[in-house]
Amino acid sequence: MFSKLNQRILVGASVAFLVPLLCVSVYAGNLDQFAKISGTLDIAGGTAHIPVMKEAAQNIMAYNPKVRITIAGGGSGVGVQKVGKGLVQIGNTGRPLTQQEVDTYGLKTFPFAVDGVAVIVNPKNPLKDLKPDQIAEIFAGRIKNWKDVGGSDAEIHLYTRDEASGTREVFWKKLLKKGAVADKANVVPSNGAMKVSVAQDPDAIGYMSIGHVDASVKPISIDGVVANQENALNGTYGVVRKLYMNTKGNPSPIAQAFLEYVFSTDGTAIISKYGYIPLSK
């Protein structure tokens, strides 16, 4: 859960074990294009993408067992590096590619979903709402106690993400307005690690992909706007970003088929199911 290797093993194992179970529920239509394809498709990168990638891969491999799809995490930075160096066919990012990345590797980018980034606290924290400037002050380390923002008298524990994180980038740009994050903030390497850390620490504050939020953490509303995908879709919740799949040059036939499946009606249903908003191609 914490290490990237573990995540890969976990995803790999769950994909491997779930495929035989899902063989029964084969539904064709959007999957027709996989009928004549065989081979391996490797996907790596952003951790927000994993639920969608996993389910799409399961459906495809159940339809045609000759297709093998592996999914690894690692974060947006790893996604760019791996696809750029040809180690995977699809590299996922939770942020747009930089011009330098496009130039260096010749990457093509396919945004397929919109995801919000929620500010989260421990469910034991009575606080429900914060203003954007309060959040900026908290993460800059200038507000140090929960009582200063209307909470109980306890020290605030900051949790942030590593520099390669796409989640961090959108949070930093859209909510902190590129403001400083205190040096003393704890740094965690994935959305999953963020959830575990905040779920355990009653005085914690952090941020993560809305798609990963569950009952173990509590999203904070910002200026009265609840952080959920509905508000992200209708534009009232502004801390959103697109999720991208990237290929080196034109996608290979198998990667092309995968991309088309994600953009098909089946694919968009999966995207919505996991709390993201599908984008058309």
Partner: protein
Amino acid sequence: MDTYRCLNDTRKGLVETLIESWLFVAAMISAIAVGAILFFLIYFAWPIFHEDHLWKLLSWYWRPFQDQFGILPMVAGSVLLGISSMLLAYPMGIGVCCCVYGLGPRWLSGLTLMIVRIMTSVPTVVYGFVSVFLLVPFLREFFYHGSGFSWLAATLTLSLLVLPTVTLIVNAQFELFDPEIRLATTALGFSPIKQLIWVVIPASYKGLLAAAVLGFGRAVGDTIISLMVSGNSPQFPHSMLDSIRTLTAHVALVVSTEAGSMAYNSLFAAGIMLFGVSALVNGALRFIRAGSE
């Protein structure tokens, strides 16, 4: 007779030469590998040393989005964590060995050694995982300061990792003296504790030093425990309860940033620092040993 002996010697010599050259090749490959690692680190870090970026690296602030790439907090983190976990694990390891060799009851020594041997086979990620769910919340509630992810949590966890290394090396050294010296010293009227203090420990000087070098290397080189437990804040700690980031965890966290960026290139400097810290400690302990002989 002379001819025969001569022939025999040549034959022996041939086998010996083969073994010697084989060992020489093995030693050379190891040495070349270490040399190549250092060479490539310097090669990749060259752009940083070359331009006026160097002063940027030698600062106390790691804020890549504000163009500050100081790696000193991580150097301090690695050194402090290495020292603190050795301060805990080293006396503990020697204590365990003393207990096994004469101070404790026989049944206990066998059991202790067995447990320590089992500890070597526990994957480090297991120590990290258990710490995140047990030790970190405990520290957070017990001290009522900080998030629990701290220098202290990493020290306690890491000392568990280093303990078997120290214990098994010192133990191997102590075993060399058993049982002849024990018999001789007992005959001279030494109690078990005096045997340890006046005979076994002074005579195991080299083993104790080797245990310190290897233990410290293990502590500084570990990545997953510091990544999971120490909190990873790029700051100089003001108390044991503050969050710290080690060089190894720093490399693991930053390696997935954009290749060729300043943050990415600074990692090679971090690698050289890590190399330097290990080499320095190694050298220092060798120096102490040379001075004492």
